[in-house]
């Protein structure tokens, strides 16, 4: 293997490229990214960058000297437009054709949008800088979608002095992800901090003056942020022969085809730890899966290792940090196992079948959560995990 192409120059793609070098691959590594910026980190976009606490340079994933030391053939500001799988080549928007012996797909996701023009979304550095310019004292911001991204933006916007209305179609924000009770506790934080949170309010479209709700009512705003989830960037693979089904479908080794691997937000793979197909849009997973994909691409087939991580994420909302480990989606029961829900300092454990599948902490010392992570990784039985704390 002499030529490896990595498509996607964010956390997953960069980590894959770094890992190839760290594993001793000294052939050509081409890193393709559709944004013009050097690889940067996205979680601070809705936190420190939006708040104006950090300048954009602070988001660089690696210092320029460290990037240069990787000796990559870097193509920024140019999107991949087609994959020729039998011909082993990636075609770029500028007409170039990149032949490869090995390929890593890390094209990420893009925000879902609503009909109508003029709303913000938040995925890129440029998105965040544009939104930031619209915040400030007295500004009226409507955030559509009270997921993690919408909630973080609401939190930062309130601190900037903006009036914030948070419109959520579900009855309880984040209930599908973290359960009703935890979702309700997080909702209270919004209300305590002066956010006008309205639940059960689907939004139909963005208008010139704000948004139009599904029931036809108009809602005025100076700025609108649409934060209703993401779509994997897989259109360019449509005629490639790869299986695309809400992401690039991979096996447990993150392989989508021989010598073709996927990592990060765009990859749907089988996680043997939970015996489940998943696609994870968490920053930590991008790095871990980028590493796993790169290693498996270089490894002899018999030496490849299944990618079986405990997913994790964090979110900053007002004065509280949320930390979670495991696969919470699809859980069947939640138990508060430490602390106090009403005080917004607690650990919640999640059950699916007879297993502990995840834990989420709000306002707790992170060390307190670590042993729950260990239990999830050890496939602990629900009854055993709970018996250990009672």
């Amino acid at each position: 293997m002499r030529r490896i192409v990595v498509v996607g120059a964010s956390a997953a793609g960069l980590t894959a490229a770094e890992t190839l070098r760290r594993e001793g691959f000294d052939g050509t590594v081409t890193l393709v990214g559709d944004e013009p910026h050097a690889p940067y980190d996205r979680p601070p976009l809705s936190k420190q960058l939006l708040a104006g606490a950090w300048p954009p340079e602070r988001l660089a994933l690696r210092p320029p000297a460290d990037l240069a030391a990787l000796d990559l053939d870097t193509r920024l500001g140019v999107a991949a437009t087609r994959l020729d799988l039998p011909g082993r080549a990636v075609e770029l928007a500028d007409g170039e054709r990149l032949p490869y012996d090995g390929l890593i797909l890390a094209t990420g996701v893009r925000p879902r949008r609503l009909p109508g023009e003029g709303a913000h979304v938040l995925r890129t550095l440029d998105d965040a800088l544009t939104l930031r310019a619209g915040l400030g004292p007295g500004r009226r911001l409507v955030v559509v979608g009270a997921g993690f991204l919408g909630s973080e933006v609401a939190s930062v916007a309130r601190r900037s002095g903006a009036h914030v209305t948070l419109l959520e179609p579900a009855g309880v924000p984040l209930a599908h992800a973290v359960g009703r009770r935890v979702g309700e506790v997080l909702s209270e934080a919004h209300r305590e901090h002066g956010v006008d949170l309205r639940v059960g309010v689907p939004v139909a479209a963005v208008t010139e003056d704000g948004v139009r709700l599904a029931d036809g009512a108009e809602f005025e705003a100076d700025e609108v942020l649409v934060a209703i989830g993401s779509l994997p960037n897989t259109e360019w693979l449509a005629d490639s022969g790869l299986t695309v089904l809400d992401g690039v479908v991979c096996d447990a080794y993150c392989a989508a085809a021989p010598d073709v691997y996927a990592a990060g937000d765009v990859a749907r793979w089988h996680n043997p730890l939970f015996d489940a197909s998943m696609r994870i849009e968490h920053r930590g997973n991008a790095a871990e899966q980028g590493m796993a994909a790169a290693r498996n691409l270089l490894a002899d087939p018999a030496a490849r290792r299944p990618f079986a991580p405990v997913p994790s994420f964090w979110s900053d909302q007002y004065d509280a940090r949320i930390q979670a480990y495991g696969h919470l989606r699809g859980h069947q029961a939640v138990a508060i196992v430490e602390g106090d829900l009403a005080a917004r300092r607690f650990v919640a454990a999640y059950r699916a079948g007879d297993r502990l599948v995840g834990a989420l902490a709000v306002g707790m010392p992170p060390k307190a959560v670590r042993r729950w992570r260990r239990s999830v990784a050890a496939r602990a039985a629900w009854t055993d995990a709970l018996a250990a704390v009672s």
Partner: protein, 65 residues
């Protein structure tokens, strides 16, 4: 080789402690990473490189000097 920790970037995920427990720990109260040694022994450097790669906040760097 010298390990650099950009403390304000740390998000207390604890990934570095899982990966290189001889080099990193976490503060009890807020979980922010603690560097146990700036100059780890050579046999620990692979673990540090792994920690640099998995840190979800890009808060760790391994510098030449």
């Amino acid at each position: 080789m010298r390990v650099e920790l950009d403390e304000p970037k740390c998000v207390a995920s604890g990934q570095c402690v899982l990966t290189a427990p001889e080099v990193f720990d976490q503060r009890d109260d807020d979980g922010v990473a603690i560097l146990l040694t700036e100059h780890p022994a050579p046999e620990l450097l692979d673990g540090v490189r792994e920690a640099v790669a998995v840190c979800p906040a890009a808060a760790i760097r391994l510098a030449d000097r």
